[in-house]
Each structure stands twice: as C-alpha cells, then as structure tokens.
C-alpha cells in the first residue's frame, strides 16, 4: 500500500481527536480553525464552512472569508422529544442562521455558527441531552431507521437497534467532553483506549441504516451497512445484512462509482447482529484504503477483497456463519404525508418540509408552527430520510389540539397542496456554504420543480410520485444516483442528468445527458414525459419506463 493520506496522519497525531482545537478556538485573529483541526472537528460533528457568495467582496474589504460552522446532531433513528425541539429552535435563533435543516440522514443540522459560538451551542445542546459526537468524519455516522411507526407493530423494537448500534460504534475518546463541555481532562489514557477505532478511526465515513420493508424510506442500499428487518407474524426474526453501499463518486475518476449494498446473509439474534455490524467495521478499519480517500469507502474494500472473501473474513471474526438471506420485498421509498395511525392507536402527521429547511418564510410559518406543536408537549418529532418531519406519538385525545395548531399555521394546507413531484424531491445544501459544491442544489431545485410541475400537468402526470433528486457535486448527499431523475452538478448552472433509478431504491440510475442547462433539462423532460404519457404500461414507474425504453444502458 502506498503512503497514508494526510488525513490519516492528522487522525493518528490528533491525541484521540483533540488536535489543537483548543488553541484554534483561542486564536482571535481568525474565524477559522487550524487546517489540521478542520479534519479533527468533523469527528465532533461539525464542518468549517464559509459563505462562498461573499468571498470576493470580503477579500476586497481586506476581510477574511466569512467562516462559520455547521453542527450536526447525533439522533439515532431521527427522534426528538418536544422539549428538545424547543431547545434546538432556541439555539438556532441564538447562535445559528435560525434555519433548522433536516438532513437526508434523519438528523438536523444548524449552519452559520461562528467560532466563538460553537462552545455555547454545544453546551446548550448538552443541556437538552443532545450531542453531535461522530456525526461527521471517518467514523460511524448517524444510524438510520425507518421512521414511521405505522410501518410495523414492532417498529419500536427495530427502532431500538439504531440507538444500540450508535452506542456500540461510538468512539471512546473523551475529547468532545473535554473541549466543548470543559470536563476535566482524564488522568489515565487507558480510560479512552479504543479497541474498535484505535487511533486511526475508519478510512472513510461509515453509514448504517435499518429498513422495515416494504418501505425503503431510508434508502437502505445506499449505506455501507444495510440492515433489513425480517418480520413475520409481527415478530422480529432478525436482519438481512448488506454491505458496500455508497453513492459518492468523483467526476472524471473512472475508479469511483456509486454502488448499492450487497446482501450477504441473515442474523437472527441481537447479539449476532451487533457483532456482525461491529466486525464489518473492523474489517473496513483493517482493510480499507488509507492512501486514497476517493477509494476508501467500504464499497471499494468489498470489491477489492471480493464479496466472498469479505464474508469469509467476517465469519472468522464473528465466530459464526451467516445464515442465507431471508426473502424480503420493498415496494416504495416514501413518506406517508398527512395523518396516519399506528397499531397502538397513536397518531402521526408527516409535514412536508421542502429540502428539509425549517424556517418561517413569507406566508409559510413552518418554524413557528413546529415550535407551537413542541411547546404544547403533545407530540414527539421524528425526521425522515426524505427531509420531512413527522409530528409523532399523538394520543387520540390530543389529536384535535395538534390538528388545530397545524391548521392555524396552514401547515396542513401546505402539505396537502404541494405536488407529488415536489414532495418526492430532494436536494443537498450546496451553495453557499458547502465547500464541495460545483452547482446550486437546494437554492435552485424548488424553482426547477415549479417548471417541471407545469410540464407534468400538460401530460396529466402530476399525481405521479416520480423521485427527483439534485446534488451540487458528485458526492451524492441527496442520493441523486438512486433517483428516477437525478441531477448531479458539474459546473455552475450545469448538471448531468441521470435516469433509470427504480421507485424502491434497488437500482441505480445512469447518466443520460451531460453538462446540460435548464432550458435543455426542460426540453428533454418534455420529450421524455410525452413518451411516458403515451407509452407506459399500467403501474409502470418512470424509472422502470426509462430502462425499458433503453434511454440508458443498465
């Protein structure tokens, strides 16, 4: 293996993720932190960003870039109690831009936090029993779980796995508490010895999701580790385990590719499942590529080793054989908007949040509405991987009160009036804060959807739940490679258009057109929708139709 990447050296030298963060925070000359620390703070759940729109103007003013930080919470399964939502609401107003962003991985993040406000922010989170440990960086990230409790009578039982896995794969270092919460320095380094991560952590980010079929709302195959609950007669039998999912790629680098997880077997007990998950991580730790970060995700480790060798190594490490995968069937990949009831008789209202941005904007007072719901204490909050929020666990007797709040702020009208295409669309953050962005995404997609809606209306296709996703770069945060229509930014105002993903997330799309601009996008879609309207079979999704028409080679 060739030389370790610089990030590897930083991790090893970081003194268990401490780096020189404390010194960086004390440096008054800059709103940024030391370059090496920028890699280290990711493990504490934050990214240094800057307002890219303001770079030129600030440079002319002899001011440095407008640096700020994004902090992402660790919310296994995407669950918040109402008082925690109130806390997040207040923190967002006091220290961040005020916008609460629901991410595509079931958590929330705040943007625009200046350096001196990081500590107060984390302390406030801590007071609300929230943390941001390991939500970014080369480590196990937020663990996903199908969000809607109506999915299964035993949703709660499956849901607990998210927490258990998150705890199991937490780093042992106390750096987070020491740096951000001023807890005493540990005297004995042995206390934070980490048999899993050692001092090198993983070669790259590591994502785990748990899906409850038949809905694949978590896009389970897009994760490094996919756990698919096998449920029979309202009993959790165990999990099918998949490995090597991951959507990011690099423009112009043929060695990189998006990949869906490969199912390698089944485990029937909690102990076995957790053990398997843990050892998949240790194999990735030991075999993952640590010299080229573009080839470091588990998917490349799996393909380099070969699936069979990987499983053999895994079985050696776990000390038992995986059982053959059980048959499961996915049918959809969606959120259940509006009111729904679970087995127990509790109520759930899924609110449509365009691109996950919770704010008061014009007539849509979404942030105020959610605060009112939280303040009532009548509902919990669950986030979906489609960046929406479910007002959750409402007792039958409280439903009317919550319904009144949602009506008062016209949230129901908004959710109901939004088109199917809009509700099934997703975009990443991109400009102005994401340093990787090549093109706009969340700031642009809504206006593109406006135009696509008109096209669909022409063909009376506006009730079709076609999944459209856009990312500002090829890293796939909004999982555009797993969309029926995917847009991947290549340059400002230019996108590659991908077609052929299926409805339930088991087939990736392929590039259909490269570097196209909005007029081209619209004229191409017009033709495609026209064909879809006249030639599709009954119940045939747009993605399946694209494949049948051989618009792309799958």
């Amino acid at each position: 293996m060739s030389d370790k990447s610089s990030i590897e050296r930083i991790k090893e030298a970081s003194n268990n993720l401490r780096g020189t963060i404390t010194e960086s925070l004390q440096n008054e000359l800059t709103g940024a932190i030391h370059e090496d620390d920028q890699a280290v703070i990711k493990f504490h759940g934050m990214y240094q960003q800057d307002d890219r729109d303001r770079r030129e103007e600030r440079a002319e003013k002899k001011l440095e870039r407008l640096y700020s930080f994004m902090i992402r919470l660790r919310l296994p399964g995407g669950f918040l109690r109402p008082e925690q939502w109130v806390a997040v609401h207040d923190i967002a107003g006091e220290h961040a831009t005020g916008v609460i962003k629901i991410t595509s991985r079931q958590t929330i993040q705040l943007h625009g936090i200046i350096k001196s406000a990081i500590k107060p922010t984390i302390r406030s989170f801590n007071a609300a029993k929230l943390d941001s440990i390991a939500t970014c960086g080369d480590i196990n990230r937020n663990v996903l779980c199908s969000s809607h409790p109506k999915e299964s009578a035993i949703h709660a039982q499956v849901f607990e796995y998210a927490d258990k896995i998150s705890e199991l794969l937490m780093p042992k270092t106390k750096a987070y508490y020491e740096i951000w919460l001023d807890e005493e320095k540990i005297a004995d380094k042995k206390q934070e010895e980490d048999p899993l991560y050692q001092n090198r952590y993983l070669p790259r980010k590591f994502k785990i999701a748990i899906a409850i079929p038949p809905n694949n709302d978590v896009d389970v195959f897009a994760n490094d580790v996919a756990l698919i609950a096998v449920i029979k007669d309202n009993e959790l039998k165990g999990f099918n385990i998949g490995i090597g999912g991951g959507l990011s790629s690099t423009h112009g680098n043929q060695e990189t590719y998006p990949r869906l997880a490969t199912i390698i077997g089944f485990t029937d007990t909690e102990e076995k499942t957790l053990k398997a998950v843990y050892e998949i991580a240790t194999i990735q730790r030991d075999y993952g590529n640590r010299s080229d970060r573009k080839l470091a995700r588990l998917k490349y480790t799996v393909d380099t080793m070969g699936v069979d060798s990987f499983v053999k190594e895994l079985e050696t490490r776990i000390g038992f054989s995986l059982q053959p995968a059980m048959p499961v069937r996915f049918e959809s990949r969606k959120d259940y908007f509006g009111w729904h009831c679970n087995e127990e008789g509790k109520w759930y209202y899924t609110v449509f949040v365009e691109n996950g941005r919770v704010l008061d904007e014009g007539t849509l007072q979404l942030k105020s509405a959610l605060l009112a719901v939280a303040a009532s204490g009548l509902a919990n909050f669950r986030f979906t991987c489609n960046q929406n929020v479910i007002i959750s666990d409402v007792a039958d007797s409280d439903k009317a009160a919550v319904d009144a709040i949602l009506n008062k702020f016209a949230i129901k009208a908004h959710t109901e009036a939004s088109s199917a295409i809009r509700k099934n669309s997703m975009a990443c953050v991109a400009f102005p804060t994401c340093p990787l962005a090549l093109a706009e995404a969340q700031r642009y997609l809504p206006s593109l959807i406006d135009k696509i809606e008109l096209l669909l209306q022409q063909y009376a296709l506006d009730k079709e739940e076609i999944i459209i996703r856009m990312t500002g770069c090829p890293n796939g945060c909004a999982r555009s490679y797993a969309a029926e229509i995917g847009f991947v930014g290549t340059a400002y105002g230019k996108y590659n258009m991908h077609l052929g993903g299926d409805r339930q997330g088991e087939r990736l799309n392929k590039i259909y057109r490269e570097n196209i601009t909005e007029p081209e996008i619209l004229s191409i879609l017009d033709e495609l929708f026209s064909a879809y309207d006249s030639e599709r079979k009954a119940m045939e999704s747009f993605g399946d139709f694209s494949v049948r028409k051989q618009w792309i080679n799958v």
């Binding site: 000359l29 003013k61 001011l63």
Partner: protein, 571 residues
C-alpha cells in the same frame, strides 16, 4: 535717584530706575564698577555681562496637547543654565494679579482649531481682555503655537500679543508664530528673547511690527493634486459603521510613518446651487480671496465653510441681515432660508464674513518605502446629531463619494512627535478604529526596512466579523512574523475582553516585560475614551507589575513620555 530723575530724559530715566530697583546689592556694586570702568575708558570682558544682569524671566504657558508646556519647560531649564532667575507656570495656575509686577513675561500659547485659546488659558485670555489695568512696566514676548492648516492659525497668540501691548507692555522680541513642527522656530525665538534680556536696556522693542515670514512659509504647504486609485469600504455589510480605505496616487509625495495629510473638503454642489438660487447672486462674479480672485461659485464650492457655522459667524450674519438669530450652529443654507438676505449685494457681505474652509487631518495608513508615490487613508464616516437630525461630516461625505480616477488635493502634515524608534527597538502599538492607520504605516515601514525590533499590536473595534479593519493584512503580518503579538478586543463579543485597555490589563505581565525591556509605546485613535482608558491601564500595569504605588507608576510613565518612549496621535 531724584538727581537722576532730573538729569535724565524720558526713557533713559525709566531704564535707570528699572535697572537699579531690580538689582541686588551685589549687582549695584558691579554696576558701579562697570560705569566707573567706562568712565576710565577701560573695557570689560563681554562674558561677564549675562552673569551681571540676571533679569527675572517669567515663562507662562497655555497648553492643550502638552506642546506649550514641554517647550516652556525646556526654555526654563535653558534659562536656568544661563543663570537667569526663572518662574515657570501654567496659565491656569498663574496668579493673574502678578501680571503687572512681571519684568520679562514670556507667553507660550497654542491655538485651538477654531481659533479659541486652550481651556487652560481661557481665564488668562479673558483677564487681559476685560480688566482695566496697565502693564506699562512689563516687557513681554509671545511664542504662538498653531497649525497652519487651519484658517485661525495662531489666532490666540496674536490676540495675546496685541492685547499685552495695548495694556502698555513692551515687546522684547516680536511674536513668533510656529507651525506644527515648531521646535526650531521656538528655540530660535527663545534665543532671541534671552539675548534681548541680556542686552537690555538698549533693545526694548515696543510697538515693532509683527513679522509674518514664518507663518507664510509654513502656511504655503506643498499641495499635491492627486488621483484616487481606489476607494473601498473596509467594514462589511451589517456593520454599524462605515470605514473605508483610500489609495491615492501622488507623484513624488514625501512623508514619514506617523505623518498625516490635510484635506480641504468641497461643499456639496447641490447645496452651493441652492444657495445661489436663494440669494440670486451671479455665480460667475469674481471676488477677492486670500489666495486670489475666485468666482462666487468656486468660493462657495471649494474655499469657504458653509456648513456647521460657528456661533461667531452666525453673529456676523445676524448683523448683516439685521435680525436676531438664536441658533448656535447652523448651515448657511438654512440661515438663508430662515433669515433671507435682501439682495445679492447683501449676500456678498455675508461671503466676506464666511470663514475659509478648514482642512481635515487624516493619519496616513501607508509607507513611502512600500507604496512609492502613494498615500493611503483610513476614513470613517463621521456621523453626529444636530437638533435631533442626523448629519454626516462634510469631509467624510466628500471622501466617500470619490471614485477611482477622481482627483483630490492634499498636503502632508508632519508629526515629529509620532515617529518610529530605531530599527532594533521593540514597539507596542495600541489603537482602536481608524487609529489602525498609523500602525499600518508603521508595520509596512518596519517590514520594508527590515527592522529587527519586535512589534506588538493591540487593536479594538466593534464587531469581529464586520469591523476587523485590515484583517487579512494583519493576519499576514502575524504569519510572516512581522507582528510578534496581536491582541484584539471586540466590544460586540467574540473576544473575552471588550476594549484594548481590558486586553492590556489581561496581558499586563508580558506588556510590562516589553516596556521594561525598552519598548516604545504608541497610542492612536480616539482621544476619549480610548486613549484616556489606555493611559489609566498603563498606570495600573506599572503599579501592579512593578509592585510600587500610584506615585511611582506616574513617575515611571512621565519618564517614558520624557524619553520619547510614549507617543500618541489621538483625536
């Protein structure tokens, strides 16, 4: 003595009386011998003269910035060395009833920007102007300090000189008017005073004309006509203030770090046009002005002050239009609206009463060693309230509107009291807001000449994100090691300490260490409260770090000032 009275005529008698009454017994014996020697045709060595005529000298000073005090103190020391009995007093501590008893009265006095005396000299100034007393036996001379960039250059000195003569005083030597670089002129004046006092009685110079030579040469400062290269705002969107950086190209411009430029602002054309409309005067009509003939249009636009007029000018205006005007400060336009002139001719009278436009002084933010043929300025929009209305300062508004390729005129104003020390000396720079200008100049210069001394910058502003003036340059200087230390204070948070003085106290130990090792201290920016608080902090640091008392701290501070290790450029 009576015999002498009868024998000697007029002034000779006066001199003799003075001579003998002002002399000690020993002196009288010496005079006796001197005259006897003269009668015998015997020559006496000249060197004996001063020792033999120890005339009493009184040095009083009226100071605002400390210049008059410093120079008067130096004179006193010099005179003492030459064995003159000397009395030195600040005018606010001088017993005014002693005036008529003075023998040789030397007044060192400065003039404020608007032609007013320094506060410390106000009582004296009023006393000589209002009280009916005579100074027939007093010989005097005035050293007037001022700044030729202001139209009321040395006005207070002139007033005092004229009034002392009016009260019967006799000039020892003519008034000397000094510009900001006063040292040489001032010393020259005092040499003359001493010589005259020594050579008394033959050299009394009552009623001699005032020589204006110096004032004229100094007033004719070299005016540069220059091009604006760039004019960029430094403060970011969302800032509560507007501060910008101007780069101006001026071929051959020469200055040193610490110097300033003076800029005479132009009045807004819209206001000038409105005044012309209101008065009906012919804008093309030519009128006399101190630097030649100009049209009314040019006078109103570029030569005369027409905004924020002083009470004195308003009184003159009231006299011309024959009306009661209660306003204490007003613009010409509003006066014309409220108390109109009868006709264009009457407005010409008003024009004669208007003061010339004063230059505004900006500390330079560049170094010729780096920016040849350029001057850089850090300008803050000057905002203030008059009668509840928000106003913008004339000059800052004028400068803010300038764009690349526009032209501007300025002169360089030397500031010899704000100079970098030798290359190897450490410096501590303490400033807030636009006070950073001087330090940008200092740092650029020290970088360019490869000065080896360490540099420590204390800088304070409001908001880190929007108001960190020259942030990227300061970062670079820190990274390259030019700045050894940078200590920042932002009052809107971010830093633990809100103001520079808090920061200094927080780093008292190291700061004292530097000073003890010989560092030179510079303060630039707002006079109040910044420089006052900084000085308080320094005293406290001297006291606590040296483990002494307030008195010793003050003594140490004074020592720093006297040895030129503490300088300030505050406004």
């Amino acid at each position: 003595m009576n015999q002498a009275n009868n024998m000697l005529a007029g002034h000779k008698q006066e001199i003799l009386t003075e001579l003998v009454t002002g002399s000690s017994k020993e002196e009288l014996l010496w005079i006796n011998g001197f005259i006897a020697g003269l009668l015998n045709g015997k020559e006496l060595p000249e060197i004996a003269v001063p020792a033999a005529f120890p005339s009493r000298l009184t040095l009083v000073y009226g100071t605002e910035t400390g210049n008059s005090k410093r120079i008067a103190t130096e004179f006193a020391a010099k005179a003492k060395k030459k064995q003159f009995p000397v009395k030195l007093a600040s005018l606010d501590q001088y017993r005014l009833t002693d005036l008529s008893k003075e023998e040789n009265l030397c007044v060192v006095i400065s003039t404020q920007g608007d032609g007013e005396p320094p506060i410390a000299a106000q009582k004296f100034y009023d006393h000589i102007h209002h009280n009916g007393f005579r100074l027939d036996n007093v010989k005097f001379s005035v050293l007037a300090l001022g700044d030729s960039s202001y139209p009321m250059f040395c006005k207070t000195g002139e007033d005092v000189d004229a009034q002392l003569q009016k009260l019967g005083g006799k000039r020892l030597v003519p008034i000397r008017k000094c510009d900001v670089d006063f040292e040489a002129d001032a010393n020259d004046w005092f040499e003359e005073v001493l010589k005259t006092v020594q050579n008394r009685p033959g050299n009394l110079q009552a009623g001699l004309p005032v020589t204006k030579v110096l004032a004229e040469t100094k007033a004719n400062k070299k005016i540069y006509h220059a091009n604006i290269l760039s004019n960029n705002q430094l403060t970011d969107r969302g800032s509560s203030q507007k501060i910008w950086h101007m780069e101006i190209q001026a071929a051959g411009v020469d200055y040193e770090p610490g110097d300033s430029v003076g800029i005479v602002p132009e009045n807004p054309l819209s206001m000038v046009n409105e005044i012309i409309r209101l008065t009906g005067i012919d804008p093309g009509k030519k009128l006399d002005f101190k630097d030649g003939e100009h049209t009314v249009q040019v006078l109103l636009h570029k030569k005369l002050a027409i905004t924020h007029l002083h009470e004195r000018v308003i009184k003159k205006y009231a006299g011309i239009v024959q009306q009661e005007i209660p306003e204490l400060k007003a613009d010409l336009k509003s006066l014309l609206e409220l108390y109109p002139v009868k006709n264009a001719a009457m407005f010409e009278e008003v024009i004669q009463a208007l003061p010339p436009q004063s230059p505004r002084i900006y500390t330079l933010a560049s170094s010729v060693s780096v920016n040849r043929d350029e001057v850089h300025l850090t300008v803050e929009e000057d905002r203030f309230m008059v009668n509840g209305l928000r106003h913008t300062g004339l000059c800052s508004a004028y400068l803010s509107a300038l764009q690349a390729d526009d032209t501007i005129s300025f002169f360089v104003q030397k500031n010899k009291r704000f100079r970098l020390p030798a290359k190897e000396q450490d410096i501590i720079m303490i400033g807030a807001g636009t006070g950073i200008a001087a330090f940008r100049s200092f740092l650029m210069e020290r970088d360019a000449i490869g000065a080896g001394g360490r540099n420590w910058l204390f800088f304070g502003e409001k908001n880190f994100t929007t108001d960190f003036l020259y942030q990227t340059e300061i970062q670079d200087w820190f990274q390259t090691g030019l700045l050894t230390r940078v200590s920042l204070a932002f009052s809107a948070g971010i830093t633990q300490e809100k103001y520079v003085q808090n920061k200094m106290l927080a780093q008292a130990k190291e700061l004292y260490e530097w000073i003890k090792n010989g560092a030179f201290i510079y303060v630039c920016g707002q006079k109040a409260p910044m420089s006052i608080e900084v000085e308080k902090a320094l005293l406290k640091i001297f006291e606590t770090e040296a483990g002494t008392n307030a008195e010793a701290a003050l003594q140490f501070f004074n020592q720093l000032k006297e040895t030129g290790r503490y300088s300030k450029d505050v406004y």
